[in-house]
């Protein structure tokens, strides 16, 4: 989809006059303040020398993780996971902190009707949208400290570095916290960037109910909240329409842990994300018949759970045969009694693949296979199981924007150039994202790309999810440079 706000072709005459300054890239920017340094006047050497502050980033990140600390896995003060479900009290606390932090950094903060928080450091031009750095502060119920959180915290670090340097951009630079990216509490991932992109209707999002499996957590009410009631409850139902038209962006950059094993196992430091794999989320119901476990022979059963078990085994076989993934994360079994054969099972099915077409092929084959499994179970009594599919979410494969990819690629090469290896270029690779991110939706409306950094064991959505402070700082430095390069691309 075309970008409505991409201003690369803006005539140079629109630029205001600016005072050139001398600038030595060998200096540590964060420790000194320089008046009116302009992105448009930096040399390539100067840009390549831009670095985020590793210690400050790590300190801020762990500070923000005091709200919603989760399962402890080690002895260190930061050796806990996170359980900061979207719009929980902990999410409110970290949002309050984020807003105050950005205001202290002289940013203008707005909140839209999905609770998305936009903090903009003004550029020299008031008439153009800002380039955004964004991600999310919510986590999985048993998540870690980096997924999403690093993306927002890297944004804060970029603003702090720019302030310290006195760097003035032409367009503004924004940081956005997208609501409920995980889809863990409200079961639609990236829902709020989806509404912003006008790909998901606001009413559908507002009416979405929290999932019962999460309702037992202390963050959720005993009766399921809707997103709207949850937004109201914590005071984050903003009055600005949630739309790319009301809150325009010039571009969207996002730094994220890889959540996979490729970078870490190849000892690489940066992934330049060029695309996101396709995925489809389904909810399936298998309907059989409740019967007594002790008196009902196998051939007299229509055991919905046994049918499910066969389906799950088959799903992996089919997905693997096509280089795709198929996963079940939620299962509900009724009536749920030790000595009753379950008559109803509902479960989630998440199918992913590098191409939209492959995901569709897996789905098609599984529809046939699941029908066959259901038809067999219960056939002996003439009352076979049946299976119903509902598509909850459809995210076709995404290709990121060449301009953004270029900025990230150049920045990544520049940042890893310090490394003590012969061929520093080998530390950077292009990569496809296995997971969805808010960048999927921003890419529908504005140029977008992402930066991956390695994470331990490729693990995420787990309390032990971990990236080193060095890798986090590398990601922040790359996104800092990428935003500067993009500003120059727009206005130089």
């Amino acid at each position: 989809m075309a970008c409505s706000y991409f201003l690369r072709t803006l005539p140079r005459t629109c630029l205001q006059s600016a005072k050139p300054i001398l600038f030595n890239p060998a200096r540590t920017f964060s420790s000194s303040r320089i008046q009116a340094m302009l992105t448009t006047e930096l040399s390539e050497t100067e840009i390549s020398a831009l670095r985020a502050n590793k210690e400050r980033l790590a300190s801020d990140l762990h500070h923000s993780c005091q709200w919603g600390s989760g399962i402890r896995w080690g002895d260190g003060p930061t050796d806990t996971g996170m359980q900061r479900l979207a719009l929980s009290e902990d999410d409110k606390s970290v949002r309050d902190w984020f807003i105050q932090t950005m205001k202290d950094l002289k940013c203008k903060v707005t909140v839209d009707e999905m609770g998305n928080i936009f903090a903009v450091r003004p550029g020299r031009r008031a008439d153009v949208p800002a380039t955004f750095i964004g991600s999310h502060l919510d986590t999985q119920p048993t998540g870690g400290r980096y997924d999403g959180i690093l993306g927002v915290l890297a944004g804060i670090e970029v603003i702090k570095t720019m302030n310290d340097m006195g760097l003035e951009t032409e367009g503004g630079v924004g940081v956005v916290d997208w609501t409920n990216e995980e889809g863990a509490r409200f079961p639609m991932s990236m829902i709020s960037s989806g509404v912003w992109a006008e790909c998901i209707p606001l009413a559908r999002a507002h009416n979405l109910k929290e999932v019962p499996t999460v309702a037992s957590l202390p963050t959720a009410a005993s009766a399921p909240e809707t997103m709207k009631s949850a937004l109201q409850k914590i005071g984050y139902l903003g009055d600005i329409p949630c739309s790319y038209k009301s809150t325009p962006m010039a571009a969207h950059f996002e730094v994220h842990i890889e959540q996979g094993p490729y970078l870490v196992s190849a000892n690489q430091r940066v992934g330049v994300v060029t695309a996101v794999q396709a995925y489809r989320w389904f909810r399936l119901n298998v309907i059989g018949r409740d019967t007594h476990t002790g008196t009902t022979a196998f051939e007299h059963r229509a055991d919905a759970l046994y049918a499910f078990a066969q389906m799950m085994v088959r799903a992996r076989e089919v997905a693997a045969s096509k280089g795709c993934l198929a996963s079940v994360g939620i299962v509900e079994v009724k009536p749920g009694s030790v000595n009753t054969v379950p008559g109803e099972v509902s479960f989630s099915l998440d199918i992913r693949g590098p191409e939209t077409k492959l995901v569709t092929e897996v789905e098609k084959e599984l529809r046939t296979d699941f029908d066959a499994i259901a038809a067999t179970e219960g056939a002996g009594i003439g009352k076979p199981c049946r299976v119903e599919w509902t598509l909850d979410f459809d995210s076709p494969a995404v290709k990121f924007h060449e301009d953004c990819i270029d900025c990230v690629q150049q920045s990544a090469q520049a940042v890893v150039a310090d490394a003590s290896v012969a061929d520093t270029k080998s530390l950077v690779r292009t990569i496809m994202s296995g997971a969805g991110h808010d960048s999927v939706f921003t890419s529908k409306r504005v140029p977008t790309s992402m930066i991956f950094i390695p994470c331990k064991d490729g693990l995420s959505h787990h309390p032990e999810e971990f990236s080193t402070a060095d890798d986090c700082a590398t990601g922040a430095s790359v996104i800092l440079q990428a935003v500067v390069r993009y500003d120059r691309k727009r206005f130089l």
Copy 2:
């Protein structure tokens, strides 16, 4: 185990004097009252002519089902299932009705500390325990109108028929409602007859918590109740110790729907239950690792749910190969998010077989196979799944008592003798029970046997569970005669 209270050898000299009466078996007993008819003085012809009142039994049974009516499956007034979980408000209501009914029938009612209700119609001798008819009034969350309920209602009908006839027994005749037989709300079936038999410690039973999967039903509190707190809440924590020593029985008879297809598919009318198959209930935990569904290749997963699915498929294979059953009724998946590979799954496993040894063999083979499945899933990352077993309940195979079986056998043949088929004997068969019943525990302490009647499609633990009024009356007539025959066996 020997019966402490079986008084067959009591000397005849203990019998009080009794006035003989004339008795014509062609009469309808329920419509006329005869003074001081004695069991010891009935002829075999007279005993064989004893019948329960079909219409009254059906009317009482459906009347009692007003408390806890469940899912509707047809248009008729009684075309609903039942959801009368143990110690719920509905269970309290039907208990109150049961007690009032028995008091109106001149029975002495006592309640023990497990909430078991014993109603005794006194016999001519005050110094001997009563012969009991028993079953349970609780149901599965999606149960029907016959499982358990018929057994108690048949007991009421026996007392009513005896009262109408003016039949005096030597020992008393009791009706017992055993608490939480289903094990649906408090996850241990036959728990209260188990405490009575001193096979389950009282404290363990009192401390048992209701299962979370049932907690969402309107009958359960939001915080899990223990059995003791639930008994207190509805006023059924009696002060009589729950023990066969405090509430002795001469014998225990139980009429029940078959819950299987053998009688109904062979057009047979009565099953003389000689034994109960063995079963063991386990709770298993599979521990893997939470990871992201989109970024974690299959070979990098330790997917506890995928391991579970393979286990369930394997459990059926192994059980079937040994003529046993294996069933999963409860599954809990953590963390329960669409895009997180589940790191923990706990599930119930119910293994049954005709012999204790076969159940043990299935268990042994599954322990090996489940370990192998767990070891494979996650092996790629050196963090394989592991599986833990907990035995929740162990019920070895039971052989019922020859004296009780004889009484039931003779009574069944007598009751079906009216049938318009050439060989009425073919309408009765001996049968093994697939399900556990309170009779399993009573059989540990006193002579016991059971009577099965056909049920539609062999279906139970389902709202559409159904037996005809004729079949129910047959069951009640058989138990009526069996109790009379047993009384004669004791004292003649």
